[in-house]
């Protein structure tokens, strides 16, 4: 408690070289709050230099301050335009600033300045990949990985380049070799699994996941992909277990949670969460159509037939156009393709997935596209649509009692809603008559859950199925008359038909 104060720092202050090394270590360890004040001290101790600019640039990049990092690196290169480190750092910064061409220039400059520098080659390879030039990226990444095979990020880039050059087997081989070298690197494992799954080699993907588990890799993504692979192989019980493990490791992830709920391991919600749908469909967008074609997807054709049945004049010569028409959950625009020869006035698509909408946009068949959650869109929309289509959309809703009135409100008297649902008591194993379907799969596995008197159930793949009576009740309650209800095969999955129902509803009650 004696009030005299001790003097400040002792005499052994670190020298600039030592301090610079400490700062680099701290930046590499992500310890920006330690690096920042030390950099301030370093600037007081030493004159401006390329090295200080490089350190400052790295720190700013770590802090996510991209424009400032670019300015700092520019300043450093003004002091020393031959600094390979600065060119590499600026290539990184420019990539982050979406300046791919600038990044390419820096990466190329770094390679010219230091032809033996593996990092420069790797950065150039990554930039070229980003520029959709996998054939040019490949040699850079090959050389970089040959020089330093224990760099997982470079290996993943090399695998991507190989795959984009059509050599999926080569991609798998380099990933396998890297996994052997860096068994703890989760990103390598997931990259290898994704490569296998893109080849539709689900057996290989499942084996990769199993090997990861045996080697002690506990990662939500690995378990989640394992679940997908097993599910695609029809091994739903094992998939459920994998999803349950994934959820333990990513308990806040709505996507994984929905899959576990679908597997019957947690109490179920009455509809799929929006983040789940966005995740699934954004991730799916690029290969959605080929996937559906592989499943012999029939829904757009079925709805086209229903439209023509109801509005035969649309296919005939003359001016009788119908519109505007709303395509709910339009996805990549398959419905628009199916309807493209019909005389529709303004076809508008709505979807929750930006990735899907980008694919739909490319088709050029929609008057406009809206990125929105479906119910939110309907609630705020003021247009009156004589025809609304919902192809394979209500399979993401359990309860339809809320969404049908929203659609009803957007139809004029006599307006028509056409949609498909998967049928409750169909091929996924549900017992007839709404009885407990556990009888078929064993009570404990909880693989999927019965309609339970509610008229819908959540299936193992994360989709809901409905029974016809329930849909009809909900439709009538919302103010519709059921004009058509027909059993149809929607697609083929794991060599089995997926049964569904086609509904045509007409707005008949207008009392709100």
């Amino acid at each position: 408690m004696h009030a005299t104060a001790t003097p400040a720092a002792g005499p052994t202050r670190p020298d600039p070289g030592h301090l610079a090394r400490r700062i680099r270590e701290m930046i590499a360890g992500g310890r920006v709050h330690a690096a920042r004040p030390l950099l301030g001290a370093l600037r007081r101790m030493a004159p401006p230099s390329a090295e200080i600019s490089d350190i400052a640039g790295l720190l700013l990049l770590r802090e996510g301050r991209i424009p400032e990092a670019l300015a700092e690196l520019d300043a450093g290169l003004a002091l020393d335009s031959t600094s390979v480190a600065l060119h590499i750092s600026r290539a990184d910064a420019r990539m982050q600033a979406q300046d791919v061409l600038g990044a390419a220039a820096d990466a190329a400059e770094a390679v010219i300045l230091a032809p033996g520098n593996a990092q420069a080659k790797a950065v150039l390879g990554v930039v070229l990949l980003e520029m959709n030039r996998p054939e040019d990226a490949l040699p850079c990444l090959r050389e970089a990985v040959a020089a330093e095979p224990r760099r997982p990020a470079w290996v993943r880039a090399l695998a991507a380049a190989l795959e984009q050059n059509g050599d999926a087997a080569g991609a798998a081989a380099v990933l396998d070799a890297a996994i052997a070298q860096c068994p703890g690197d989760v990103a390598l494992r997931t990259a290898a699994m994704m490569t296998a799954m893109r080849r539709r080699d689900f057996t290989a993907a499942a084996e990769l996941a199993e090997a990861a588990r045996r080697q002690g890799v506990a990662d939500a993504c690995v378990f989640g992909l394992h679940g997908h692979a097993l599910s695609s192989l029809g091994r739903h019980d094992a998939a459920s277990e994998a999803y349950a493990e994934a959820l333990k490791l990513a308990p806040e992830d709505p996507y994984v949670r929905h899959l576990v709920v679908s597997a019957g391991l947690l109490p179920q919600a009455s509809r799929a969460p929006a983040p789940y749908l966005e995740t699934v469909f954004d991730g799916y967008a690029g290969r959605f159509e080929s996937h559906l074609i592989g499943l012999q997807y029939r829904v757009p054709g079925l709805l086209r037939a229903a439209v023509l049945d109801r509005f035969p004049a649309l296919a005939e010569a003359g001016d009788a156009a119908l519109g505007p028409v709303l395509d709910l959950g339009c996805g990549t625009g398959l419905m628009a393709v199916a309807l493209s020869d019909l005389k529709l006035d303004r076809l508008v698509g709505v979807d929750i997935s930006a990735g899907m909408l980008a694919e739909a946009q490319d088709k050029g068949l929609y008057h406009s596209l809206v990125h929105a959650e479906l119910e939110a869109f309907l609630a705020r929309d003021t247009t009156t649509w004589p025809l609304i289509l919902a192809a394979d959309v209500f399979c993401y809703f359990g309860v339809l009692d809320d969404v049908l009135p929203l659609v009803h409100a957007r139809l004029p008297p006599g307006g028509v809603l056409m949609f498909t649902v998967e049928e409750c008591d169909g091929a996924q194993g549900g017992a007839q008559g709404g009885a407990q379907d556990g009888a078929q799969d064993g009570a404990k596995d909880g693989a999927h859950q019965d309609a339970g008197g509610r008229g819908w159930r959540l299936g193992r793949q994360g989709r809901f199925a409905h029974d016809a009576d329930y849909v009809a009740r909900a439709a009538i309650a919302a103010g519709f008359a059921v004009r058509t209800v027909r059993r149809e095969v929607l697609r083929t999955e794991a060599q089995a038909n997926v049964p569904g129902l086609l509904f045509v509803l007409e707005r008949v009650r207008h009392d709100g």
């Binding site: 001790t6 709050h33 330690a34 001290a41 588990r213 493990e245």
Partner: protein, 783 residues
């Protein structure tokens, strides 16, 4: 250090020393003062004596001679000279001031105070005297008077940073925190590089509720002066206080990098590392701090406590024993030493130290906690003796006046269920409870966690996902925490940390919730706390008749009292190792605190009964060679050759689990049995022979084994324990078959059936709630 001559007006003619002070005397005096100023007391003494011998009898020379005498090792003589000089020059303030300093150094604070008072009386405006007296008064709990003197001092010498700094300290003591912040601010303006002042200002700002403003100020100041260690240190301390621990550690590490020899940043860094559970790094930093300040007993005690956290018990014990030798038995030293001794398997010595702590401070709940925790491992513990120790904790726990709780007595409503623990994460508490909370009916219970700061820990993430709210419990006092729990409207509070390191149970003594329940987390027996209403248990932990060992009511679950979540990275089962090795390997992966001399004797009997068998013990403690050697010697005393023993140190969790691949049968320690350890062994295919006693901790394995359908591994006495182990070793076919199916069996058993457990837990908690709803509102709370 040297003194200036008194003003001539104060000197009587006899001492004015004009012609009698020969020039040679003055020269010697001059040299002596210079040497004194350099701290070369012995040489100064020679020179000043020379000056006097040559006839220099000037007061300043005589006083400097006294100072030199003190420096050279004769303080008594020095003080006598000062007193004599004071008597001869009663109006000169210098002798009493120097006398006060000497007395303060000698530890005679009362006499020092009187001397300083005299100096201030003689010269009421002299800053040095005001400052010294004020500092002493603060030590002697007279802060208001110190504050008054320091205000005078600051007015007289406004450029003295030390005066403003001391004024800040006095204002802190008198409780005027905003004024203290201002005073430290002024001191810092005068001495911007001073680390202590900067830190004190930051702490005052935090206490005054101005932490955010002070942080912003420090940010700005640091931007202008990035290499200023004082600013960095203050910022780091403040960030730590605000719970931004990672950032605090980073900033303090930067401060230490810039000023490696400054003590304050190193100590602050060690505190930040300790509170952010980075004990290993904290140990390194504390070692550096102790090297810089080897006489600081607090730092050495902190080092010992942190060494315990990183399982360096032997080293911690050595430090604490030296501290007790040097400073006598102090509560903190004794409690930490108890912990270290018990962890080393020296239960008898640990209990003795704990009893010493209780005798030293019978009103200190920490002493009783140490006793309870030590006793739970002691071979002679009984249900009643442990209850008595924990009742001691309950009795001495600080309490505030009970506050009326506003919870609505509606039996059916959705309840706000509070989980209170710093270990809602990867920890036995997490592995054994999280699945139960995940599967509680969300329509019946809303989970509110009062837990550790957010991290990416996978089990903490599971708690977070299950919880409706997460409140970080950090540095607040138990009373403040209790008020926060009340403000959250918690209906049922489940306490999950007990009397362990950083346990939060102290908040429960303030009755924050109408229904308070003890569950996992140092749940080694009753808490002995009158405010703990229930303890979650099962029929194996507390069979009929065991109620008398508990101060709580027993909230029985129909299956086991916990639900085990096996780790997703657990290795696959391997075949029974005895089949390929040709001999049986017994194992115990429990920490050595549980391994008593009685346990060692029993294991020696088992090894004698099964010729060729080996015993693998695995515990962090075996990393210390002295501990490993002591255990080998203990077995040798029972005729067991060291070749039959393998003592393994700790390892990462997956590697630890994989080592069950080497074990055929687990031998449980007693009276503190394995808890999570037994569950893990089962998951890895290895059954445990267990001998339950009266305490809760002694019956964990009995509960888990029975719950897994393996009650035939639970035995009644030592003979049966040895016989059961030998029998298992004698039927390898049966053991191999059991092992092969054990994981599947466990997965299907109530021990791992989370949905079933969640339903049972919900029903039990609802029962406790109904009980409270049915009770009359209490007019007083028990205490």
């Amino acid at each position: 250090m040297t003194v200036e001559p008194p003003p001539a007006r104060l000197l009587p003619a006899a001492l004015a020393g004009s012609d009698i002070a020969a020039w040679r005397g003055a020269e010697h005096a001059h040299l002596g003062m210079a040497l004194l100023g350099e701290g070369r007391g012995g040489e100064a003494l020679v020179a000043l004596r020379g000056a006097v011998a040559f006839g220099d009898l000037r007061p300043a020379t005589l006083l400097n001679l006294a100072l030199a005498e003190e420096q050279a090792g004769d303080p008594e003589l020095a003080r006598a000279s000062m007193r004599a000089l004071g008597d001869r020059l009663p109006d000169w303030d210098e002798p009493p001031l120097r006398l006060g300093e000497s007395l303060r150094r000698a530890g005679d604070l009362a006499a020092a105070e009187a001397a300083y008072e005299r100096a201030v009386e003689l010269n009421p405006q002299r800053p040095e005297a005001l400052l010294s007296l004020a500092a002493l008064l603060m030590l002697r709990h007279q802060a208001p008077r110190a504050q008054m003197l320091l205000l005078r001092c600051c007015a007289r010498a406004p450029d003295r940073a030390d005066a403003w700094d001391a004024l800040g300290l006095a204002l802190m003591l008198t409780g005027d925190i905003p004024a203290a912040e201002s005073a430290f601010g002024e001191a810092q303006r005068l001495l911007p590089d001073n680390i202590d002042i900067a830190v004190r200002r930051a702490e005052a700002a935090a206490l005054a509720g101005n932490a955010a403003a002070e942080l912003a100020r420090l940010d700005l100041a640091a931007a202008d002066d990035p290499a200023n260690v004082a600013l960095l240190t203050a910022r780091g301390v403040l960030l730590g206080r605000q719970g931004q621990r990672d950032e605090a550690v980073d900033v303090l590490e930067a401060a230490v990098a810039l000023a490696p020899d400054a003590l304050v940043p190193i100590v602050a860094l060690s505190n930040a590392l300790t509170t952010s559970s980075r004990a290993r790094m904290a140990v390194d930093v504390l070692r550096r701090a102790v090297a810089l300040a080897p006489d600081d007993s607090n730092l050495r005690n902190n080092l010992a406590a942190t060494l315990v956290r990183v399982h360096r018990y032997d080293e911690a014990r050595a430090i604490l024993e030296v501290l007790i030798d040097e400073h006598g038995p102090q509560l903190n030293f004794l409690c930490n030493l108890t912990n270290a001794l018990v962890s080393l398997g020296l239960q008898e010595q640990g209990v003795a130290r704990a009893r010493q702590a209780v005798a030293l401070m019978p009103q200190a709940h920490l002493a009783w906690r140490a006793l309870g925790n030590a006793l739970s491992y002691h071979p002679d513990v009984t249900g009643q003796s442990l209850l008595a120790a924990y009742r001691g904790v309950g009795r001495t726990m600080p309490r505030t006046t009970p506050v009326a709780l506003a919870n609505t007595r509606d039996p059916a409503r959705r309840l706000r269920l509070g989980l209170l623990s710093p270990t809602l994460k990867t920890h036995p508490v997490g592995w054994l409870t999280v699945a139960g909370f995940e599967t509680l009916d969300p329509d019946a219970f809303e989970i509110i966690c009062l837990g550790p700061p957010e991290s990416t820990d996978p089990i903490q993430r599971r708690f977070r996902a299950a919880a409706a709210e997460w409140h970080v419990v950090d540095t607040e006092t138990p009373a403040a925490l209790a008020q926060r729990i009340r403000d959250l409207g918690i209906d049922i509070l489940v306490e999950l940390s007990g009397y362990g390191d950083r346990g939060l149970i102290a908040a429960c003594a303030h009755r924050p919730a109408p229904v308070q329940v003890k569950w996992v987390g140092m749940q080694n027996h009753s808490t002995g706390l009158a405010e703990m209403d229930w303890i979650i248990t099962d029929r194996w932990e507390t069979p009929a008749g065991f109620e008398r060992h508990y101060s709580e009511r027993l909230l029985h679950l129909p299956d086991g009292y916990v639900c085990y979540s096996p780790p997703p990275y657990a290795p696959d089962l391997v075949a029974l190792p005895a089949l390929r090795r040709g001999h049986v390997t017994f194992g115990c992966f429990n920490n050595t605190a549980k391994i008593t001399p009685v346990v060692i004797a029993a294991w020696a009997r088992v090894l004698r009964a099964v010729p060729g068998a080996r015993l693998v013990l695995k515990a962090h403690q075996f990393a210390e060679p002295a501990t490993a050697a002591r255990f080998c010697a203990a077995f040798a005393d029972h005729g067991i050759d060291a070749a039959r023993l393998e003592l393994r140190a700790g390892s990462p969790h997956r590697a630890l689990l994989a080592e069950y691949g080497d074990i055929d049968v687990v031998l449980d320690p007693f009276p503190y049995s394995g808890g999570l350890t037994t569950c893990e062994a089962l998951w890895m295919g290895v059954p445990t022979v267990t001998l339950p006693g009266e305490t809760f901790a002694s019956r964990h394995s009995a509960s888990h084994m029975s719950n897994a359908g393996l009650a035939d591994w639970v035995v009644a006495d030592l003979d049966a324990y040895v016989a059961r182990a030998a029998a298992a070793a004698g039927d390898l076919a049966a053991l191999a078959a059991l092992r092969a199916g054990l994981r599947a069996r466990l997965r299907a058993s109530p021990l791992c059936d989370a949905p079933r457990f969640g339903r049972n837990l919900g029903a039990a908690l609802r029962r406790a709630w109904h009980d409270w709803c049915a009770a009359e509102p209490a007019t007083t709370t028990p205490g």
